[in-house]
Symmetry: C2
Subunit: 216 residues, 2 copies
DNA sequence: TTGCTTGCGTTAGAAGTTATAACACCTAGC
DNA sequence: GCTAGGTGTTATAACTTCTAACGCAAGCAA
C-alpha cells in the first residue's frame, strides 16, 4: 500500500511491476516449489526479456526474500486480526491450519527446509515475533488444559531472549513453544504429503493436538 | 553390501564408483542443501567429465532418490538395532534426535519440504514402514503416560491403512502418530534454524516432548 | 518549450547447469 | 586372440542466473 500510492508515476509503475512479478512467482512456487522458481520464465510470462527483471529485483534471492517477507506479513496480519476479534488459542490453531492449507508452499517457504546458511533479514524476524506475541497473549488465558510439569519450565524462565518484553509466565512460555512445535509437526508432515496413503484424516490429528494444548 | 560383492569385476567397479558419487553428493548436500546438488560438480571433484556420471545415474532425480533410499535404510537400521537392544519409546526418541543431528540435511531430505508432485518409489515407503513398525511396537508397552482421550482414537481405529498387520490398539496408534509429529515438530524447526537467537536450548524442549509421550 | 537526467528494456555474452549423441578405447569373457 | 559391452571422452542443445553496453522515452526542470 505504502508503495503503490507513492508520489511519482515512475515509483507507482515500479511498484506495480514488482507486484506482478511476485504474483507470477507465487504461481510458479505453488506448482513447482521454490527451488524451481525461474526469473527468466517469469519475465517471459510477463512478455519481457529475462534481464529486464533485474531492474526490479537484484537477484533471485532478493525476490524470494521479498516473498518470505510478504508471507510473514500475511500470517501476522491474519493472526492479529483474529486476535483482535477475540480469538482464543484454539481459534488461532484453526486459523494457522486454514492459512497454511490456503497455500501450502507459502507455509513451507516460511517453515520448511531452508538453504543452509540462509540468513533471514532483520525485519522478517520482527514480523515473526509479532506472530509469537499473539500466541503468547493467548497462552496467558485462564482455563487452558494443564501441561505436564517439567524441568523445561525452569529452563525457559531463565532463557527468555525470544519473549522480548512480553510478561508471560513460565507455563505460558512452554505452552506457546509447544503450540508452535506440535502444530507445525502435524502441519508440515501433512503438507509434505507424508500422510498420504495412510488412510486417516490429518484434520482430526491436528484437532486432537490443538485440543491438547488449547482445550475445547 | 549386496552390490559391492557382486560377481564380475565390472559390477564391482560400478558399485564402487556409485558409492563414491553418493559420498560426494552427501558432502554437497550437507553444505549447500539438496537443491544445490550438481552432478557436474561431483564429476569434476572425482576427476572426470560431466556426462560420465550419467553412466552411473540416469539423471539428478535418480541420484537423489538413491540418497533418500539410503537415508531411510540408515534410519530403519538404526531404529531396529536399538529396538533389538531393548530400547523403549524414550530411547527411540533420543535415537531419532541423535540420528538427525548427525546429518541435518539427511533428515531434512526425508522429512523436509519435498518438490510438489514428487512421488517416492515403492520400496522407500516400505522402509519407512519398518521405522513406524518399530515405533508401534514400543507404543504397545505398559506404563506409558496417559494421552488425553479424544475422538481421534475412534477415528484411527477405523482408518488403519498405515498399520499393516500390526496388532496395535487405538491408544498405541495415537501415541505412535503423536510421537512422530511432535518430535518432528521440534526437530525440524531446530534443524531449520528457527530457534537460533531465541536463547533456550532445543534439547530441553525436545526432552520435554519426548517425556510427555514416552515417559521417563 | 527545450533540454537533460534518470530509469527501463533491449541484445549480447559469460559462466554455470542438465542431459543427449556420437565417438574412442579398454577390458572382460568367450 | 577376438569381439562385444561397458566406460569415458568431446560436442552440442537448451536451459539457468546475472553483467555489460546500448538506445529510447518519460518525467522534471529551467
Amino acid at each position: 500500500m505504502n508503495e503503490s500510492e507513492a508520489a511519482t508515476p515512475r515509483q507507482r509503475y515500479r511498484a506495480q511491476v514488482r507486484e506482478e512479478v511476485k504474483k507470477h512467482a507465487w504461481q510458479q512456487i505453488a506448482t513447482a516449489g521454490a527451488s524451481a522458481l525461474s526469473l527468466n520464465a517469469i519475465a517471459k510470462q510477463m512478455g519481457m526479456s529475462g534481464p529486464a527483471l533485474y531492474r526490479y529485483f537484484a537477484n533471485r534471492d532478493e525476490l524470494i526474500t521479498e516473498l518470505i517477507r510478504d508471507a510473514y506479513r500475511s500470517l501476522s496480519e491474519t493472526f492479529r486480526a483474529r486476535a483482535a476479534a477475540g480469538a482464543d488459542l484454539g481459534d488461532l490453531a484453526r486459523t494457522l491450519r486454514t492459512w497454511a492449507l490456503a497455500d501450502p508452499q507459502r507455509y513451507l517457504l516460511l517453515y520448511g527446509t531452508p538453504v543452509p546458511g540462509y540468513q533471514a533479514p532483520e525485519d522478517t524476524a520482527r514480523t515473526a515475533d509479532e506472530v509469537m506475541s499473539v500466541i503468547l497473549d493467548a497462552c496467558g488465558a485462564d482455563g487452558l488444559p494443564a501441561l505436564p510439569q517439567s524441568p523445561l519450565q525452569a529452563h525457559l524462565a531463565d532463557h527468555q531472549a525470544w519473549t522480548g518484553q512480553h510478561p508471560a509466565g513460565a507455563p505460558a512460555l512452554q505452552r506457546a513453544l509447544t503450540f508452535w512445535t506440535r502444530l507445525h509437526g502435524v502441519l508440515s508432515l501433512e503438507l509434505a504429503g507424508q500422510f498420504t496413503g495412510m488412510g486417516f484424516d490429518p484434520a482430526q490429528l491436528y484437532a486432537a493436538e490443538a485440543q491438547a494444548i488449547a482445550g475445547r
